[in-house]
Amino acid sequence: MNIDIADLTRRFGRNQAVAGITLQAGPGVVGLLGPNGAGKTSLLRMLATVIPPTSGTMRLLDRDPGSSDSRREIRRRLGYLPQNLGYYPGFTVAEFVEYFALLKDMPPGRIPAAVAGAIERVDLGAKARAKLRTLSGGMLRRVGIAQAIVNGPELLLLDEPTAGLDPEQRVQFRALLRDLGKQATVVVSTHLVEDVGAACTEVALMDAGQVVFRGTPAELAAKGTDQDTGDAPLERGYTAVLAQARALAGTRR
């Protein structure tokens, strides 16, 4: 299992962002759905080894990220696109992707070809030598995806990767996700349920720091009825599961 976590929690002061998540995932694309504040970003940040969990156990790529040697090895094989991708305005696209390839400890001889391959995969070849400050928001998002995949990661964590992409780019990106998911574990946090339906083999729906549904996109869609809110079956399934989870939580309180 590339991801093996049990009873994982994360607290920020009084706020319980993640409240006991247990999850295993092998190769494939897992869509992480949920409303704002559900804990998706906190979970991804823990999986990216950016923040440690408050409690629970976590193994990534069959290693314990708590030990520094293992964490370094995990990070070599990890790709991460944060929600807010900071960038260096004076870097070109190729320089930015290369910078993070170097920080991922990739063998220097492999880097130029890997950088070119990653830039081409996100369809930014025409902008490879453009400064980042000249790019649109959607292009910057694709630069972020390029740096995430440059090392051929076995665990790829993408926090709202399609934000700012136009419909054509989103369709291309879904194809890229499906391709990456053949060998790697890809976890994609998104608000766009149609992305999940088109690209994900599995979906986890989070609310109030917990996973309230896990299954295939078809299983989530089947949870919805015509009475539920939403324009598509998957949206109706999403709102139905959320409503059930909240009703259950209300009863417990």
């Binding site: 950016v50 156990t57 708590g66 520094s68 370094r72 991460y80 900071g86 260096y88 130029p112």
Partner: protein, 230 residues
């Protein structure tokens, strides 16, 4: 032999793109990479804001003004300027306050702590060399030309500690400059000599104590939590 139909144009283009987009590291970067045994660490070092040419030129200009003032007034202004400049440079060496891609950098195999360490040491060394050269050019007494290195270490450590704890380069630089200014003025009032802040032997121990304490604070603030909590 393969016919034209067998040519994989995507692969050919990728080979061309690899060569066209390849960045050729400069001599300094290659040498630094060999010294540090990590091309990634070398690249991270040479992208430190306070080691970039505009910052270095600004530092040289300020020290140049200090040299001119020292020569005309006879007061050792370079010895007073150098620690403050170095403190600001150290605060701007690394951290969430100045690195736009901090979150991403934090998830990298080359650890942020190692990047911080090499950047802080390099920035300190560069500023020390520039300060010593400026002191020598200004014609300051030999003692004064080197005595400021100890207070400079303390003020740099303070700026680094504040910058890492507050996660703000501005806070670190402001703390370093403010504490240095207060120290200079206080010692001048107490002793009547503007140079006393760098020449008095009795201040060496407090400077060293501040250096060690602040270095420990910076190490603690950038610690990596051990083990996964159970």
């Amino acid at each position: 032999m393969t016919g034209n139909d067998d040519v994989n144009l995507d692969r050919v283009w990728l080979g061309i793109a690899t060569e066209v987009w390849r960045r050729r590291p400069g001599r300094v970067e290659r040498l630094t990479g060999q010294l540090l045994r990590s091309p990634g660490l070398a690249r991270a070092l040479l992208t430190a804001p306070s080691l970039l040419m505009p910052w270095l030129i600004a530092t040289i200009l300020v020290l140049g003004a200090g040299v001119a003032a020292t020569r005309s007034s006879g007061q050792p202004l370079v010895a007073l300027l150098a620690p403050g400049l170095a403190a600001a440079a150290i605060a701007y060496a690394y951290g969430p306050g100045i690195d736009p891609a901090w979150e991403l950098s934090y998830s990298m195999a080359v650890s942020d702590r190692m990047v911080l360490l090499v950047r802080a040491l390099a920035v300190f060394a560069v500023n020390a060399v520039l300060g010593i050269v400026a002191s020598a050019v200004s014609g300051a007494a030999v003692a004064i030309a080197f005595d400021w290195l100890v207070p400079m270490t303390a003020i740099c450590a303070l700026a680094l500690a504040v910058a890492t704890v507050a996660r703000s380069a501005i806070a670190g630089a402001a703390a370093g400059l403010a504490v240095w200014a207060i120290t200079v003025l206080s010692v001048r009032v107490a002793s009547g000599q503007v140079t006393a802040v760098v020449t008095r032997d009795v201040l060496v121990l407090p400077y060293l104590a501040v250096s060690v304490c602040c270095a420990l604070v910076a190490v603690y603030a950038t610690r990596i939590p051990k083990g996964t909590p159970r």
